[in-house]
Amino acid sequence: MLQRSKTEFLLIFLTFLLIFISYSMAVDNSQSVCQENLDKSFLKVIYSLEGSKVSFNIKLLNVSYDDNKREQISPINGGLIIIKNVSSDEDICYVVTNNEGDALTEFDIRPGMCQDFLLEFKPDGNYDGVKSCGSENSPIIYTNSFIGSRFSAHICAPPKTSANIAVCWFATLIGGLIFAASFIMGRNPFLFFDFSSSRSLSPRFSSAQAGYNPMTKSTDSQTTSEKVRGVAMGALDTSTQAINTLNNFGISTGSVKEKLSDIEQWAEDPTRKASNLVFSKQTEQDQTKEPSNLVSSKPIGNEPQPTGNEPQKIGNEKINITVGDLVAGGVKTMVTTVAFAVAPRRAKTQKKPTLGTISKTFGGTLFSQVYSNALGILKQFLIQNMAQNPPSNQDHPFELIDLFISRDDKKSQSPEETMKRLINLASKKLDKLCSALEKAHYVPDSYTSREVSSVISFFFSMPSSSDSVTSSSDSVSDWVNKTQTIKNQK
């Protein structure tokens, strides 16, 4: 009995011992997995594709919760992010975030290809054997602080457009040649698309079904040259009528050169208001032309009195552009109509051009041209009226400074010279500017804000040799040089 109880006791003891050991091990393991309560990390990636170059704007954030269980987001400085182009054999590389949690990097993708990128934040900071994507900083080890995070992107680079255009152009050329050859041979090239025709009467065996027809001479009494002449005369008459309409607005229609000289004279007149400058931005074409009878620059502070002719000249400048449009519209109408009249018509289905159809084509084209030009004239007319009646007839604090900058800018040659002159002229006019602003202190703020706005508008619309900066991609150095020159100018 005692022996049995001893054996039972031993078995129970061993069982408990086993349970205890296994429990202890389980506790140890769980502790090694969840040592601490780690914060979450969040990888925010914005990527942009430009041509075959993809830019990653990476932001590494820490998401935590305060005592009130409110979400707190803060940047992670020195976070190691491994980037892998999964679809290619390229080596993986790493970037390190700055103190704002930001990192930037770029990759090239082959045009027309799609590639998968994987970005991974590694809190252990281990980048052994991994090359840098451009970062010079060393990562900070966050093994005990954050849980890692990942981001993946599937990015496709568009194929090179030049190749597509070449292929399309070639295909169009071949197609055009086939259609033209078919047409010249007396067949209707579109008959192949006619599914209603029976197979037995296919164009291959039936020339009649294929639209073959012997060529016949046109019975129209007018010859082609007569038609062309008539159409041209019609177009010119319409243009003349349009110009006469402009004359009714009180606008003369001299040569373009005369008009340009008028504009230059108007620009020379120092009495125009700041609001006029804003409303009458000059075209780039006007700026590049050398004035034919440019009046020499008057000394500062010796401006003549207003003559009251300025608005009329503003109108001239604007309508000059419109006259050019009208002439272009007339020519377009003429060409369209002539093309319609003389186009060869050999297929059975095509009707011969008659005086009626030609007139209809001419009328339709002319109407669209006159309509678009009329809208332009109306717009210019409204602008002209606004220029004549500026919103306020009070003194404009900036009217003198902007005027001189504008006038002298026209004459300078090099961009550097332009900038120096601008600053010098602005400095010379500062007394007047400051006194005007001082005076403006006693009038409502909205008025002075509007005036500052008008000066800003003026500078941005100012004719300047630096205009090309915005369209040329490699002129950043030009802009930087100017910026440095201006900043260094005392």
Binding site: C434, V480, Q484, I486
Partner: protein, 189 residues
Amino acid sequence: MQIKNILNDLSVLSQKNDRLNILNSISKLKDIINKEKQDLAIKFVKEMVILSPIKFLEKYVQDTYPEILVGLFAYLNQMLDSLDQMHQKVSSNNFNINELVNEIDNKNKEYERKFLVLDTYFKLFELFALVHFYYKANQQLIDHFILSKKKSLMFDKFDTLSLNDLEKIRQKIDLEIEHYSKKLNIKLS
């Protein structure tokens, strides 16, 4: 700082009833403020000339500059007004000018803060100009960049930020300018 020192001198001189030196200090202060007005106008003209080739910036400059610039000139003019009043008081042997000195001091502090706001906007517009070149005038990318920066840099709240916060924003903008300058292989200043 120069204005601050002269204002301190004025407080001391008013206690001593030193009429002549007070009037001299007032005159000196007026010269400094008038010079400041000229410098401010030059700064404005220069910045406009620098930014004007980047046409898309006009709307951003137009929305932010006028009110601030007008406000800055208004502060300087108000300081000059206060100095005129002070001059009249002291001329009539009334040396109770502490209130006016405090008023000018407050205006000067507010002017300096607003000046920093204006300069921060200019820095930001310079950054936008650099990004314009970096993205080769691709308006979609530029707009995206501006939108994200306006959000992260609290573009619309510069005027309400403390000097400390404003300084932090300026440092951030400087870092961005440095980053894009490196990318474009240029040096802006």
